[in-house]
Symmetry: C5
Subunit: 243 residues, 5 copies
């Protein structure tokens, strides 16, 4: 049933990007299918206890193949799922080239979040939607940003949020990584229209807030999938594709 | 027949750079030839549904061997072709050290594109020519660029475009990556005369626009090829070469 | 019994991050268990002569699996333990992607350290607590910091320390690496509440001292473990997990 | 016979740095000797059609073992030689960690090149000498350089050239990479006296031109060799060495 | 016998850092011992003709295992020893992640070097002492340093040298890499007291000279060893350790 919401408690959020070694693709098809089935079972098992979303990055990135977005109230759940995923047969061919750990937190800029589409979550509890695409990137701001007065930052964020609201097809999930991981924030945008998101990001380049960006890469275009489809996308035999 | 043009719709554009593992070259020649033939079939198959161009970087880069330029109206086509290419036997020896995802978009600086040679495409629909060489690089501009007024940027771009027009043998394809991938733009220049392109880039170094470049590397010199020639270039036995 | 305290002597401090090769996970379970048991013996053996703490980074980082924090009065002990750990069977599958060497030193800013919780150590002798989580990062300050007057730096540190004291659940261990390793300091924060540490780090962003940071990444979230649990976390079979 | 000079035509220039995998050194001596002989044949074959020079970097760099400097009038020759070199048996153990593509071009600063030693080439046709050592590095200048007036840049280059002329034992080959590869220039200095070159570079650090350097690394110290000696240097058995 | 001093001639200096592949540690103990013995023979053989010093970095760095410091009057000796070391059986499992090439040179700032301990060498001839620890790092200064007047630089160096002289237990060996390798200098400090060196480096942070540092990492803490001990430190079986 996923993660039961516990209002008022902060969540641990993890974006783990996996890549299969090229040698894995040399294994025979039956072996690979068995390995994928076992891995899929672990994912499904955890999806009953944690909030788990699956994404494919095949064809959108060259350095990662799929991503699992996991949300829990217990940091040690992140440890356990990692050990179980890598403890599968497939785990012997997996690396995790990118990994972002963060937590939820109430924003100091937004009194109460009102999403462009619906309002079914507060900032402390993530509630990803059913959108086809997810755009994820780690964000660190220049130290000069933190030297601005609270009023200046509020003004910059108001401008930023106002531009964002004109793109109602895009939903933002903001999480915080200060002290927990290399970045300050992890931003995850959901949308069905990649072109809209591209236009939004380009428009935001001229905003005051954007001028204080130290680092906002890598940027991942992720395709929402079931666990099964995410894994099937790793390699497609032409014979099967023709079916 | 390639990709049927759908006027007014934006396209998804992908530049994928592949490298074969050195160990692949230790396989016997027959095995390698069979693998190349299978891979080539996948490329040809997709060339009937998407716009597909093949390029060799053997001898021009040390970190990549060949590049496939793919254009589609469906982002999931990018996922499917990646899965099918890596799902071949050859896929077990391939890595993708560079990968650039972008989209087409109407320029805010050019009312209507008029290419130096012919005018057979609008900005939303890419139409690569038949030139022998392609020069590709990702581009990100300094944030200060976006802090300039629209007039200042227009003036800078006019100067930039004017210099470009004096090199009529060079055709530019501009695509946009904001929010989709690490860079802001992917630029792809087609020409038959590498020396002309070199001179153009050197001349542009003094332009106002160039001063706002944050990053414009890596730069790839790509040799236009058929799928067959692109793959044959990976390793040449001297015996064959002598034929 | 660990390391017997020698008041007035400086200690050598080492944070070594280990990663197992994916191929290790392809070995059969019995072999892996034997290897872990042998490795664990070496750790326990050294824990009788040096101060040794074990941490898991499974699920919190993608580029490292576990960390051993070792404190000794003899630099060559660091050499010996490294040789013995890598001299085990498991050592043939281990890499050490991150490694930080440092020493203890009396602070020029703090007359006498008074921890938020208890006062059982001086700056020359580390005494890690029993907290569930450890946050480690290397720190290098901008050269401009050292160009400030002693009074300016003292004022900045006073502000920094004052903010730190409002988060009484967080305990800081500062060690020095000037000339010994790439960073200037290694900071290790202990706490039971990751959210508190996140909030502390975010609040410190606005401090004067923070503006003089050149580099404070990578940041490692570490889960305190016994040697046995740290190693068991590397891969969990679902069968076992179900027990 | 090498490359027949074609006055007025620009040349394609390539510096390819190769490294053998450590595993190659585990092969038996006979196999390795046969592989080197085959590779050497390809080099000699091409030396009849292109300008080919061979250099060892064994003992001077840790990340590359040898370098082949190739000059041709046809960019596709660069593709062909790469395919043939990597198509040898040795090719299955080679990587190319560094690769620099460039072209010749008449300088805008030097009316007619007059080398410190002799005057046997124009800027469009490279004519490497018989010196024992070659020092190669890619160069990119700060964009601010291109914002200087032509007079300021000419003055800076005059100072630069004047210092260079006082070191008559050092000969410079300048080639251009704008738009073709990541760097703007590739500089290759020939000399018999490494100490003289070191002193020249140190003296140039104070020049106006040097202040506009964005990047001038990596720097490669290369030892001129025959193809045979370059390959023999890869591993020396002590038994042989004793002969 | 080592290297016979040739007064007035400059020396070639090389610091080569080696790492054994993890897989090497999977070989049986007898095979490994034989390989180490062979490697040790090559080192000893060269120590009769060149100045050779051996250091272990086991336990002090995660990315390198041991270092060989070699001094010769012939650059090609550096090539020969590299070929012979890598031509051993052990060479098939070695990489050289760091490598620094330099030369000796008379300083423009120090009339005549007078070491803190004794005066047995001039700047052109290195004479490492018998200290237990060596601290090595490559140094490149900001270009602005070279824009200072000779008087300003002399003043900065006087301050730098004066601070150094107050730490009489630390001996400095300065060598020059301009144009030969990526860094400008390689600095090698010998001492028996790591804590003294740490304090010296920290104190120098406030000096004028230090403000002009562009890059002074990586920093290597090296433990002086015989060839035999350096190699034995690579992996210690507990059984042996217990003897």
């Amino acid at each position: 049933m996923g993660l039961e919401s516990q209002p008022g408690r902060r969540q641990y959020v993890k974006f783990t990007f996996f890549k299969v070694a090229p040698e894995w693709r040399r294994l025979d098809l039956t072996t690979r299918d068995q390995q994928l089935a076992e891995f899929q079972e672990v994912v499904k098992d955890w999806a009953e206890r944690n909030l788990i979303r699956c994404y494919s990055t095949m064809g959108t990135r060259g350095d990662t193949d799929f991503m699992i977005w996991q949300v829990s109230y217990d940091l040690e759940d992140q440890q356990r799922i990692a050990g179980e995923l890598l403890g599968t047969e497939l785990g012997g061919w997996l690396t995790t080239p990118y990994s972002y750990l963060s937590m939820t937190k109430n924003s100091q800029y937004v009194e109460k979040y009102s999403g462009p589409e619906r309002d079914k979550f507060t900032r402390l509890n993530l509630a990803p939607g059913e959108h086809k695409f997810l755009f994820v990137y780690p964000l660190t701001k220049l130290r000069g940003w933190y030297g601005l007065s609270k009023e200046e930052r509020q003004e910059a964020m108001n401008q930023h949020i106002a531009i964002g609201h004109t793109y109602s097809s895009v939903k933002l999930n903001t999480t915080y990584s200060f002290g927990l991981d290399d970045q300050e924030f992890v931003l995850a945008f959901e949308t069905d229209e990649p072109g809209d998101f591209l236009d939004l990001v380009q428009e935001l380049r001229g905003s005051m807030s954007s001028a204080y960006t130290e680092r906002d890469v890598p940027i991942f275009t992720c395709i929402a999938s079931t666990a099964e489809d995410m894994l099937a996308a790793l390699s497609r035999s032409r014979a099967r594709a023709a079916v």
